[in-house]
């Protein structure tokens, strides 16, 4: 089977597993992204067909939400909170340090494909900021030194 047909088959499985839900599109997109690391272009028509939606509608939903990616991220994803509570304890400074250290802007991936840097607005760690999420793991009180340690760990 070609890569394309493998993708389509896997997406069909995922869609079938969610068909009984009321309003299944978001759970399906989450599951597809969990399986592939992003929502492959080939998945869109499969989902659209199964849910009796237009491709544009599925694409429209996908592109509305910050979480869904059209292309894979780097091997590691570092999210830094940009919200007010974290700002009050130096998040802007830490973010600037991260951008300089990694040589990328928000949403950028390092040239070696190791790290994608993303902003996030609140991780619920507002009494122990600045907060970060590294590959789904939460870290509180992130300063420049801790950020360097995070980068060293994932690179």
């Amino acid at each position: 089977m070609s890569d394309q047909s493998v993708t389509v088959a896997r997406v069909q499985e995922i869609v079938a597993a969610h068909q009984g839900l009321e309003g299944p599109l978001l759970p399906i997109l989450h599951a597809v992204q969990a399986a592939f690391g992003h929502v492959p272009e080939a998945a869109v028509p499969v989902i659209a067909e199964a849910l009796n939606l237009g491709r544009a509608e599925v694409h429209g939903v996908m592109s509305f939400y910050h979480d869904f990616r059209e292309a894979p991220a780097g091997r590691h994803v570092v999210k830094l909170c940009r919200a007010e509570s974290c700002q009050s304890v130096g998040a802007d400074r830490v973010a600037a340090h991260a951008q300089a250290r990694l040589g990328v802007d928000w949403h950028g991936t390092t040239a070696d494909g190791a790290v994608t840097l993303e902003p996030v607005f609140c991780l619920g760690l507002c009494a122990c900021g600045p907060a970060a999420m590294v590959d789904g793991r939460l870290i509180g009180r992130v300063d420049e030194a801790r950020l360097d340690a995070i980068v060293a760990e994932v690179r």
Binding site: L21, E22, G23, P24, L25, L26, P27, L29, H30, L51, G60, V61, F64, Y65, H66, D67, F68, C81, A83, E84, S85, C86, Q87, S88, V89, V120, F121, C122, L123, G124, L125, C126, A127, C128, G129, A131, M133, G136, L138, I139, G140, R141
Partner: protein, 506 residues
């Protein structure tokens, strides 16, 4: 030896998992048999990870614990804080909604029952729906998500509506910076939310519930998912709630990083699998909500406060508070503060008491410049306003809002122009795009604030005018309330807007 180490996201973000590993290793070396329970947080975030040891006298606390110091848990030492119940931070609180949070194993239904859990639901099963609604109405409970709408009245609308299927939707899309009460209760006492939703279902005649949790809360998603499974297996949820002939079940749904989905109609669209675009009201979600059917949409804390109201009675709950703000409110003290965390108390404290006495002032030790109350859409309050009591009407009288009761403290290094610009930038990024004042206004707001930043004071009236348009012309609170932080910053901290101009002129 029974030892508690929180599995709360804040505790884990501060190293609780590493503490558990070190603790197990230390216990192994000493040949001590330990049972480690991963409880919720007691809310004292500055002491996390807060480890507790069960003793004959009560639970003894150690914190903030680090892996290198776990020997102190066995031998005592500098990190020992004495009996947890005697800690002043806990003693000063009135914990009704958070009564069990941090106390019990979050996923033990036996623990939950042993601490008064399911009493409210058991009582609700003996009452007709209208009686439950009346009880909640009389308790004076208002929506804790921010809008402060009376919960009982919302329920009555759904109760009286006809429909083949009604729904209870729990809004757990807690996106406001400075707030973490929803996260804490979901991670620390998930059954109280499940019980509250089941009671809501009985009250209005709904048999299906959804909890819409933001994807930024992986721990809450994990605990809630597991708790729903336990509740189903133990007959709390399912076709026969606690052995009755009434059914209620819950499904956990995960958001996808859109702040606006915390707005109820946008959340409903998201739940239906659509773009999270705001719907015009009317129709009210209570009449045409999820899938066009009658739906209760309530915040986590509103629903989690229902079990105690049913268990102890409306009068008991209404006995706390001031004016039309009845009951207790979980204050979330955040940002640049020495003792940050969650503090549940009756309405009525002043901001000064909250920030200076309970919070202990700023973490940096510098003077407090401003406190943003109610998240990114809440006003910045200046020290001269710190004596107003914490209540819905009291705050709206100051062109402020209590929102979800999150308080973010800033020290005197805060640049209020920059924060005002951030509010507009955030609104521009997160706008759903449906209404023009929000979609375009926020972008123009950033540009206008940049002009002010460059020293163009002629742009200030323009900003004021723009805020007026956004406030009265936006479809929902995102565009409608963004003017709160912007205008409060401009009004109370004019120097920050003028100083920039001066620098540029020089």
């Amino acid at each position: 030896m029974k030892i508690y180490v929180p599995r709360d996201a804040a505790a884990r973000a501060l190293g609780a998992d590493a503490v558990v590993a070190a603790l197990r290793a230390e216990a192994g070396r000493r040949g001590v048999d330990v049972t480690i329970i991963r409880n919720g947080s007691r809310g004292m975030v500055w002491l996390e990870p807060l480890v507790e040891v069960e003793t004959a006298q009560g639970r003894v606390a150690f914190g903030p614990m680090v892996p290198e110091a776990v020997a102190q848990i066995f031998d005592g030492g500098a990190l020992s804080l004495g009996l947890t119940d005697e800690l002043p931070w806990l003693k000063g609180q009135t914990r009704l909604t958070f009564a069990r949070c941090g106390l019990i194993d979050p996923l033990s239904l036996a623990d939950y029952r042993a601490h008064g859990g399911l009493e409210g639901l058991s009582r609700a099963l003996t009452l007709p729906g209208a009686e439950i609604v009346r009880e909640v109405t009389e308790s004076g409970l208002r929506g804790r998500g921010g809008a402060g709408f009376p919960t009982g009245i919302k329920w009555k609308t759904v109760h009286d509506a006809a429909g083949p299927q009604k729904y209870i939707v729990c809004n757990a899309d807690e996106g406001d910076s400075g707030t973490f009460a929803d996260r804490m209760i979901m991670e620390g006492d998930p059954f109280v939310l499940i019980e509250g939703m089941a009671i809501a279902g009985l009250a209005v005649g709904a048999t299906k519930g959804f909890v819409y949790i933001r994807s930024e809360y992986p721990d809450a998603i994990e605990v809630m998912t597991a708790a729903v499974e336990v509740a189903r297996a133990e007959g709390v949820l399912g076709a026969s709630v606690l052995g009755s002939d009434r059914g209620f079940d819950i499904e956990i749904r995960v958001g996808a990083g859109a702040y606006v989905c915390g707005e109820e109609t946008s959340l409903l669209n998201s739940l239906e699998g659509k773009r999270g675009v705001v719907r015009a009201k009317p129709p009210l979600p209570a009449l045409q909500g999820f899938m066009g059917r009658p739906t209760v949409v309530n915040n986590v804390i509103s629903l989690a406060s229902v079990p105690v109201i049913l268990a102890r009675g409306a009068a008991y709950y209404a006995g706390f508070g001031l004016g039309r703000s009845r009951g207790t409110i979980p204050l979330q003290i955040a940002g640049n503060v020495k003792q940050g965390g969650l503090y549940e108390v009756a309405f009525g404290l002043t901001l000064r008491q909250i920030v200076e006495e309970i919070g202990g002032g700023t973490a940096s030790g510098r003077p407090v410049k401003a406190v943003q109350v109610g998240g990114p859409l809440g006003a910045y309050l200046a020290p001269h306003q710190f004596d107003i009591p914490f209540g819905y009407e009291e705050y709206s009288g100051q062109s402020a809002l209590i929102g979800h009761a999150g308080l973010t403290v800033f020290d005197d290094s805060a640049d209020m122009l920059k924060l005002a610009r951030f509010a507009m930038e955030f609104c521009a990024i997160e706008s759903c795009g449906k209404c023009t004042p929000c979609r375009i206004g926020a972008v123009r707001g950033v540009e206008t604030l940049d002009r002010i930043g460059r020293g163009d004071s002629a742009a200030i009236p323009l900003l004021t005018d723009l805020c007026e348009t956004m406030k009265s012309g936006s479809l929902c609170a995102l565009g409608g309330f963004t003017p709160y932080p912007v205008m409060s910053a401009l009004t109370h901290f004019p120097d920050d807007f003028a100083a920039q101009a001066k620098e540029a002129a020089e």
